[in-house]
Every structure is written in C-alpha cells, then in structure tokens.
C-alpha cells in the first residue's frame, strides 16, 4: 500500500535541502529528466505548427472551462444515455465513499487500477483499504511505488526517483511471485511485473480508472497509456469505475485531434502513445460508473489568474524541464502533483493553511522554462507570483519588505541607505548571521562599492 501525502509535515525548503544531498536521487533524476526533456524537444521540434496546436489546446480548454456547467450536464446526459451511471463528488471523502460503496455492491474485495492522478489525489487506495478492499496498481511505475510503500514523485513516471537496481530489490523483497534469479535488466524486470500482473487482470472483476479526457457530445472517456495494462483493466473486469476531475471534459470528439498530438509529444516524447482506449457508457456490456470529482476545482475556477491551472493535461513536461524539480525531487512537494504544476495546483486545491502548502508558491526561481514547454500555455510563473501575494508571510519578512519598500520608494532615502552601506563596507563579515546566512553559506558577498552610481553621476556624470 503506498503512503499518502495528506498531512505531510515540513516545508519545501527543508524537504528539498535533504533531497539535494542525496547523490543517488540527484543522479537518477538528472539522467531521467534530461532524457525525457531531449525526446520531447526533438518530437516537438519536428512539428512546424506546434505553437498553433498549443494555442488551439489553450483555446479549447478555456472555452470548455468558461461553460463547464453546460458541458458537464451534456456529458452526464450522454453517459447515462449510453447505459452508464454518473455520480457527482464534491470532495475526496464523498468520492471515496461513492467508489467504496460501488465496489462493495459487487461483493468483491479487490480492484485493479489504471494509473490515475485523480484517485491518488483523493487517497482512494487508503480509503478502500479502510473498508477492507484491496486496490492493486497495475501501471508498472505505480506498482513499484505501491510495493515499496513509497510516495509517487512524478506525474508520468511516479518511480522516477528509483533506478533499476532499486526496483530489482523492491521486487525481490515485496513481490511474492518474483523469480529468485531476477536481474536488474529492464526486460527481466518488466517480465516479472507482467507475470505478476497478468494473474491480477484475469482474477479481478472490478477496475478503477481515471481518464485523460471525457467527450461531452458522445459521453466517451479516453485513456492514453504506454503499457497496455490500462486496457486490460478497462476491458476485462465486469465493473468499471472511473474517477475523473471535472476539468477533464472536452466539448467534441473532434477536439481530441489537438490533444492526441499535444499530450504524447509533451509527455513521453513520443509522436503517438502506444495505447489509446476509448469507451462510451456500458456499450461493451460492462457496468460503468463515472464519478465526477470537484475536490477544490470549482474554487480554482473562480480565481481569474489561477484558473488557467485547470487547463493542465498532466503531461509532466514542466517537471522534466524544471531545474528546481530536478534537484529537489518530487517528494519535497508533499503532493501527488509535484514540480511547477504542483506548485500552483496543490496550494489552490488544498489552500495554503499548512506550512508545506504555503511554501510551494516559492518553490521556483521563476525561470520560465515550464511556461515555455507547457502544451496548453499555462503561465506558471504568473500564477506562482499571484499565489505568493496571497500566501501568508512571516512577521519579520513582512517588516523587512515594508522597510525596503519605503527606502526604495524615494531617491533621498535610497541615497542615504547607500551612503550608510558605504560607510559600513569594511565591517561586513564574510559570513552573515541569522537568516542572511542563507546567502553566505555557499556564496561570497559582493564588495560594497566606495560610492553608489547615483553619487558618482552627481559628481562626474
């Protein structure tokens, strides 16, 4: 059973300070993010109309979000007409309750899962466990995380912080049917997982999934994946329960054209993902339930600046280019949504009441690399800066910033402060005390000049 992030203590600076000292983590992340980054750059670079596609993706999402109520009702109608059942969940607790109830009604005590961010977000596995239901992750990386009692650290590649030697050890320790002579060859590891999961697929009568997209006009759900394990879950069990965030709806089938190009190229760096599964209601004879999840999304929608985060299609391109994520790792963000998108999504979905969540908008140097690669043009730096204005500030910092603002707002005060600094220039120690040591622990201070530019200008300019 994988652990849950909810209520995790600490804050981003502290968590990441530990992570940057972990040489194995730094090596794994550098290697993995740079590889995916390169693949993405090359497949995006070969499309001459990428910027047009990106603009189209943004426009479709914005239009959908503007009329979200209408499209959701249309979706409900279409899913119901196709024999599916639609449930509305205001928050995580309600969604978990609905899913647990549906599973219990089948009389089953276990479910297989398609990789899904929404169910991670609501802590579904733990909620089901509390009801005596075991949820088995079937995505290879999610399986590694689950077997290792670990936290996911990446949206697309949840076990990105693990290398193959570590994965071999997890399999040998925790997977009862792992072959004794298992090597750390990727093919051998994949085969061991395949054999292990195959038995689950054939046995399980209930599956739980999320969805990448939901089409309002037809009531169709869409899942993109690489392994085919998702398709096993979506097609074999008699009951399928899909938990999907309300922002995942798209108006028409045709809109998929744009996203089926944007997502795989941004995400895995492939021109096309290996498996695209679509299903409409209970058309295939399955008992199908759709749980539409709000869990803070309508609050995000109400925020003029922050709502653009709801355009996110969970591709992870922003994680893979983020210099902060690359060094801090995903766990430091204390959320299933790490990296730049997590830094704007988590504080909006959960609020900034905890020390950790309040530190997330500051977990960025505002370098802008995330915005540049985002396939739906979410201006992440803009949202970060907006959230910082809403975040709680410490009393000492607030006082300091107020004084700095007062000094900087007047040329005479600024000049006086500069002259004071000049007079003290010989007295500045190489290592500063208190919070200012954050600078001098690793960096020399610049020398304070003999006179400021403005004093020089007045004299000689």
């Amino acid at each position: 059973m994988s652990a849950t992030f909810i209520g995790m203590p600490g804050n981003f600076p502290k968590n990441s300070a530990q992570a940057v000292q972990n040489s194995q983590l730094r090596y794994n992340l550098r290697k993995a993010t740079h590889t995916i980054r390169g693949k993405r750059a090359s497949v995006v670079g070969e499309l001459p109309d990428w910027q047009e596609l990106r603009a189209a993706g943004k426009a479709i999402k914005d239009e959908t979000l503007r009329h979200l109520d209408r499209y959701l009702l249309q979706l409900e109608e279409a899913v119901t007409a196709a024999g599916g059942h639609v449930h509305w969940a205001r928050d995580a607790a309600e969604a978990n309750r609905i899913v647990a109830g549906l599973v219990k009604a089948t009389g089953e005590r276990e479910v297989v899962k398609v990789k899904s961010m929404a169910t991670q977000e609501i802590g579904l596995n733990e909620a089901l466990a509390a009801e005596g239901i075991t949820a088995y992750e079937t995505d290879l990386a999610e399986l590694i995380v689950q077997l290792g009692d670990d936290f996911p650290s990446h949206i697309l590649v949840p076990a990105i912080h693990r290398n193959r030697a570590e994965i071999r050890e997890i399999f040998l320790d925790r997977m009862e049917d792992a072959p004794p002579g298992l090597t750390d060859e990727p093919a051998a590891l994949a085969e061991a997982a395949r054999v292990h999961l195959r038995e689950r697929f054939l046995r399980s009568r209930v599956a739980v999934s999320g969805a990448n997209f939901m089409i309002a006009e037809t009531g169709t759900l869409v899942v993109l994946e690489s392994e085919g394990n998702g398709r096993m879950c979506l097609t074999l069990p008699e009951t399928l329960i899909s938990v999907v965030g309300i922002e995942k709806v798209l108006p028409t089938w045709r809109d998929l054209e744009v996203f089926l190009q944007l997502l795989p190229r941004s995400s895995t760096g492939e021109r096309m993902n290996p498996y695209t599964s679509t299903w409409t209601g209970s058309a295939e004879g399955q008992d199908f339930h759709l749980v539409l999840l709000d869990n803070g999304r309508t609050d995000v929608l109400a925020d003029e600046v922050g709502r653009q985060a709801l355009r996110c299609i969970r591709c992870s391109a922003c994680l893979n280019v983020c210099p902060v994520y690359e060094r801090a790792g995903g766990h430091a963000y204390g959320s299933v949504y790490p990296g730049p998108i997590g830094a704007i999504l988590t504080p909006q979905l959960r609020g900034m009441g905890s020390e950790l969540d309040a530190s997330l908008p500051y977990a960025s140097s505002l370098c802008g690399a995330c915005y540049e690669v985002c396939p739906v043009a979410i201006d992440i730096p803009e949202v970060l800066v907006d959230l910082r204005a809403k975040a709680p500030h410490g009393a000492a910092e607030r006082a300091g910033m107020r004084v700095a603002g007062w000094v900087l707002n007047d040329q005479a005060r600024l000049a006086a402060a500069q002259r004071a600094a000049t007079r003290l220039r010989g007295l500045v120690p190489r290592r500063l005390p208190g919070p200012l040591s954050a600078w001098t622990d690793t960096r020399d201070l610049p020398d304070i000049p003999e006179e400021s530019f403005r004093d020089w200008w007045e004299r000689e300019g």
């Binding site: 600076p13 801090a328 910082r388 707002n409």
Partner: protein, 245 residues
Amino acid sequence: MRVALFITCVNDTLFPGTGKAVVSLLRRLGCEVDFPAAQTCCGQMHVNTGYREEGVRLARHFTEVFAGYDAVVAPSGSCAAMVREQYPKLVRPGSRGAAAVAAVAPKVYELSEFLVDVLKVEDVGAYFPHRVTYHPTCHSLRGLRLGDRPARLLRNVRGLDLVPLPGAEECCGFGGTFAVKNPAVSSAMGADKVRGVLDTGAEVLCAADNSCLMHIGGMLGRQRTGVRVMHLAEILASTEEVKAS
C-alpha cells in the same frame, strides 16, 4: 539620440561600474545619456516575493519618472522584463495606471536590444583580449527573448574568445529571494552552473544581469575558481585605450 538610463537599484547600490560602463559605451556611440535622479527600483523583488502593494507603488513611481523619454535603457534583462512583461499584469485594464504603463513599457530596452535593434550596431568598437563564456539569464532568454543579440555583440569584440557554455539555458538558481528562501536548491543549481562555466576554461563569465552574476560569482569566488564575472556592458565599454578593470 537622447536616452534615459535606468540603472536599477542593484546596479546603483552594488555595481556602479556597470552603470559607468553603460554611460561610456552609449556616449561613444553618439547618444546623449540622461540619468533621471528620481529613479529608484522597478519593484520586481516586492512583486515576485508576494508584496504586490509595495511593488505597485514602485512601479507607479517608475512610470512617472520615465514618462516622456523616447528610450529607456537598462543594463538588466530581468528589470527590463519586469517593466515590459509584468507591469501590464499589475494594472487594471482601462485604468490610468494601464495607460501610464502602455506609454512607458514599450520604450524600455535591455542594453543589447537597444544596441542591436535601435542603434543598429553589432560592432561597438570594443577590445577585450580574454576567453569569455556567456550565460543567457532566464529573463533575458525566455522573458525578453534576446536571442543571440548579446553573442553577436561579443563576437564583434576584438581579441575576445567566446566559448559556448554547456547547459547555458538552464537557470543559475538565483531567482531573487528564491536564493535565500530555498538556499539548498538555489546552491545546487548554482553548483551545476559553476561546473558548466569551469568546463569552458573561460576566465570571464559574462551576462546581462548582475544579480545572477552576484550569485554565480559568489559561488565561483567562494570556491576560489579564479573565474571572474563581468556584466556585458563592461566588456562592451572596454577599449584599447580604456581597459575594463
């Protein structure tokens, strides 16, 4: 041509040599340089740290001080990007503030933009016989999209050996108050940038932003690497007659 120099508070206070270099360079190229003494700070630190009210006050002051100039030149990609990219987001559409920003912001140029796009020069007559590598700071690269303007200027400097910086487009980890709010990650990013700089074998690391250079240079200095940092303006101002320090 008469231009206003926006020195920026960091350069004014800590790096006056950069300001002097801009003045001497622009004068050499035939510009009349004005320094509006009422100028202070663009407000970036406050806005980006979450103190919008103080930042907006500074932004208003900026638009008042620099109203009426044909061109405002700033030796900082970051501060120029603040004015051009972020000011419009701080004002209410249709307000007086929005009109003031619309009047001033498009006239604010980062130094290399002003040289290449407005003065249309790429050879500024500089001489600097050293091995130099250039770090394109994030706000120059992804904010202002300076592209290869700084490199074109540097390539025309006599005696200068420009060597490419590995991982150039990656952030150095400064990020304003990020450097002290998240010192561990900031330093880890800086360490990788330092490694890139050392790999080039350059004597000098050049950039269009002294704040990023203060961070990278602070690490280069602490580690006794012997590599020094210089603002682009100081290299471009350097001639056979008046050498840069």
